[in-house]
């Protein structure tokens, strides 16, 4: 359904994504995992068309996202939903208006129908009764659930999730993760989840893509990833501090820096 071909994204000298080829299958939950700075969010934003690649292609069926007209991009996006890492609720609108927003914008539905649909979506995420709340009155977990309800409002074919469980308590994280899994199965939508929550990610994934330094280092089902021979994959899923993936990102010698950088340590 979605395919990337030698997809790269550079930010000045930093290579966020390096010639990546991935394939996202329809009606499945694809989980993209990797450490901080591995290129997960960049990949998600590229797939959503929020950023342009430095090189390479993104194919939605036969449509290439490169050079797509704005009209066609918006047409494509009317089939998409996205849950942002920090929810990105519209601050000036209530919970009800945030969830109703896509319906009001893109449909001619009667207010009563919209009300019913919003109530259904809020019930799905367990927030019925919070319609009048403003985003500033919600906890992080509640805001994320409202963002989830908003992303589902138009019954999209593809939903992008950027770190859906980060910053949530274990119960909220579990609820969000199971919601993603359940809805993907029940509504036949295609979910693309970016996370570094290994437990939740492997639990809901039909297909896992593991990134490191902008490259795919492993992919397959959760079981394939769990039993991978790659030491980097094992270090990541076990969360071990020692291994081929270094904790420190510094490239220069610590001692050299201490001795020679002015204003740090003076050795007499």
């Amino acid at each position: 359904m979605i395919r990337t071909e030698k997809l790269s994204r550079h930010f000045d000298d930093v290579v966020a994504l390096d010639s990546t080829d991935i394939h996202i299958k329809e009606h499945q939950t694809t989980v993209v995992m990797g450490g901080s700075g591995s290129g997960k969010t960049t990949l998600l934003r590229l797939l959503a068309g929020l950023e342009c690649p430095t090189s390479g292609h993104i194919w939605y069926g036969k449509d290439d996202l490169n050079g797509i007209s704005q009209k066609n991009l918006y047409k494509l996006r009317s089939r998409m939903g996205m849950v942002f890492q920090y929810s990105a609720l519209l601050n000036s609108l209530s919970v009800y208006d945030n969830v109703a927003f896509p319906l009001v914008e893109h449909t001619q539905l009667d207010e009563s129908v919209i009300h019913t649909m919003v109530t259904m979506k809020l019930e799905q995420v367990g927030l019925r009764g919070f319609e009048k709340f403003m985003p500033s009155q919600l906890s992080g977990g509640m805001a994320k659930r409202v963002a989830f309800a908003r992303a589902l409002a138009m019954d999209p074919e593809i939903v992008f999730f950027d770190e859906p469980t980060s910053g949530l308590d274990p119960i909220s994280a579990g609820v969000i993760a199971s919601l993603i899994g359940d809805l993907t199965q029940r509504t036949k939508m295609t979910s693309i989840v970016v996370t570094h929550d290994v437990h939740a990610g492997l639990a809901i994934a039909d297909h896992v893509i593991l990134l490191w330094q902008g490259k795919v280092i492993a992919e397959g089902t959760s079981d394939v990833i769990r039993h991978s021979d790659d030491a980097r994959v094992q270090q990541f899923i076990e969360g071990r501090p020692d291994g081929p993936i270094p904790f420190s990102r510094s490239e220069t010698s610590y001692i050299e820096d201490l001795l020679h950088k002015p204003g740090t340590v003076r050795m007499s």
Binding site: R45, A48, G49, L50, Q70, Y74, K75, R77, S78, M80, G81, M82, F84, Q85, Y86, A88, L89, L90, N91, F101, P102, E105, H106, R150, F160
Partner: protein, 266 residues
């Protein structure tokens, strides 16, 4: 000791940074123009943004009325006070009405009104759009197939263009009224002379010039403040810097445009 090469080096560095600053300024002006034109191109496109223009008219226009009224009132009062004591030295107190009216309608109304709008409404536009950028609300709109240029930029520019001439008209009326109270009621200038001189000296061209200036300032402030917010670096520091730059660029821009427009109308 010969330090000529060092001086030459400093001169090259100075002109180099000046040139880079100039090029960046030109680039920003071009970018702001493209952003505004592509946003305004949605004015007659579907979906019609009328409701959002009205919301912004209320927020920017009605919301700024009190500060404009206070500024207009005190400007008129100070002008009457200063004008009276200057004119009294020549026995020309009767010219006070025309002096106050000409100063307010031609210059102070549009310029001070525009300054107040930059500070009150322009800064809030930049900060609001900048925060929407930081919190990914603009991206969220994009993902919901809603064009932020049509939904966010366009209504604010249009509201600024409509509201500033109206607010400047209010400024003028309140300023003249306040000048009348100080000149006639407090300082004892003849009321008939005050109003008669005002009517005799103010031509339709003066009123027209004031409105054209207000319109020009409205466009300028709308373009600068929306641009600064939309292109703000998505950090808290970036939004703060963009807001400051919007107020500075808007205020300086108003003064430069005022000089250009005044030279056309004289």
């Amino acid at each position: 000791m010969n330090n000529e090469p060092a001086q030459q080096n400093n001169a090259i560095l100075f002109f180099g940074s000046l040139g880079r600053w100039f090029l960046r300024a030109i680039e920003s002006m071009g970018d702001a123009t493209v952003l505004s034109v592509t946003s305004l191109a949605h004015l007659f496109a579907k979906p019609w943004q009328g409701k959002h223009i009205v919301i912004q008219l209320y927020a920017l226009g009605v919301g700024s009325f009190v500060i404009i009224a206070i500024t207009g009132a005190f400007t008129g009062m100070v002008l009457a006070l200063q004008g009276y004591y200057t004119l009294a030295k020549f026995g020309s107190e009767s010219l006070l009405g025309s002096g106050v009216a000409l100063a307010i309608i031609r210059e102070l109304g549009p310029v001070l009104g525009a300054f107040m709008m930059v500070g009150r409404a322009g800064s809030s536009i930049t900060a609001e759009i900048g925060i929407m950028r930081v919190t990914e609300q603009l991206d969220a709109l994009q993902m919901m197939a809603v064009n932020p240029k049509a939904r966010i930029i366009l209504p604010r520019i249009i509201a600024m263009i409509i509201s500033l001439p109206l607010l400047v008209s209010m400024f003028d009326i309140i300023g003249l009224g306040a000048g009348y109270i100080v000149g006639v009621e407090l300082l004892g200038v003849n009321g008939g002379a005050f109003i008669g001189e005002m009517i005799a000296k103010i031509t339709p061209m003066d009123l027209y010039a004031g409105w054209v200036k207000a319109l020009g300032f409205g466009i300028l402030i709308g373009v600068i403040c929306t641009y600064m917010g939309y292109r703000a670096t998505p950090t808290t520091e970036g939004v703060a810097k963009a807001t400051t730059q919007a107020v500075v660029a808007g205020s300086v821009g108003v003064l430069i445009l005022d000089y250009i427009l005044t030279s056309f109308f004289l």
